[in-house]
Symmetry: C2
């Protein structure tokens, strides 16, 4: 990977984040890199391929970091706490890429779309597994693991996208709020009426 290939990628991440994939043109990316638009095609075969590379790297790194953080942790509640904190950390750390990965799926070719969706499913499955084990162990209340995993992930992902480094809350404070809210929502005994489905 030459330096220019890296520059193109990071300029694209910035533009796709700010303007959206479809609203960003190859000329703008080129201008941001200080080269002519034709030169982009020496490094990437198409605009869509550039988007795919950004998303694919993000999804791979995301799953890898979570797996690394969870390895060795056996307590169910702790696994969920760790997973939530790591998800928030990763999304805050790479805010722009994650925002793109969550909002620009429609820009992908059907083949690339499938690759990304499979990686997303694989990641979500890690959360669903924790929820199912927690329910079986009687630590978490009964509930639909898929729906609850979507709820947890959307919550944290969205939280990371509001975050502004100069804002009034620190990364630790945000993580704490979500961790507390989610564990309270999942745990057995914290009832209102009953959990449906």
């Amino acid at each position: 990977m030459t330096d220019m290939k890296t520059t193109i990628k990071s300029v694209s991440i910035d533009l796709f984040f700010r303007k959206g994939y479809f609203a960003t043109s190859i000329s703008e990316i080129a201008a941001g890199c200080g080269i002519q638009k034709a030169s982009i095609y020496y490094h990437y075969p198409s605009k869509e391929d550039l988007l795919f590379h950004i998303m694919n790297a993000t999804m791979t790194d995301l799953t890898d970091s979570l797996r690394r953080c969870l390895s060795g942790e056996t307590d169910i509640e702790q696994r969920m706490r760790t997973a939530v904190r790591e998800h928030v950390r990763f999304h805050l750390d790479r805010q722009k890429e994650n925002f793109i990965a969550n909002s620009e799926l429609r820009g992908l070719t059907p083949e690339h779309y499938q690759v990304i969706v499979e990686k997303r499913d694989e990641y979500e499955e890690i959360f669903q597994d924790i929820i199912r084990r927690g329910t079986q162990a009687g630590v978490f209340a009964d509930g639909d693991a898929k729906i609850l995993s979507y709820a947890i992930l959307t919550l944290c992902t969205a939280g990371a996208s509001w975050y502004k480094p100069a804002g009034r809350l620190s990364v630790k404070e945000i993580s704490d709020i979500y961790e507390q809210f989610i564990i309270a929502g999942l745990k057995k005994g914290n009832f209102g009426p009953m959990r449906g489905a």
Copy 2:
């Protein structure tokens, strides 16, 4: 409002939802309506204006329905339960428009953007008010009302966008899951460590 004006709006909602605003062309909208693209401009001055009309009507109706549902309800916990259920119901009922209103803000002119963001803030304020009153009354645990309101709203909004009418869960079941999860997350006494901020 002539019939064709309504048709253009509903065809646009469908296309903006499926393909996104920038990826949808005026010609496609016209084709979907069975007219020529120039005829669109008799009804709407521009593509952006069409987007604004869709978003603006959605936001107005959203706030109006919530206000109507909450009027007369004084119990804090019940107000939150009602607000959550109504938010989910509205978002399921008008899934496409709500998805557009949440994802296509970048397509608006600065003037129209401001109008929509103000309406969104006004709607969120209703939730923040319930949270603050609940905290003061000692029903809900201490926590940042803004962050918690974003969390609650994102959760329910996202839930509505996964929903498929032919899926395995009913509207009632989905509402129940979220209502339970959110109330458990908010209530005093359902602690893990403590809530930050």
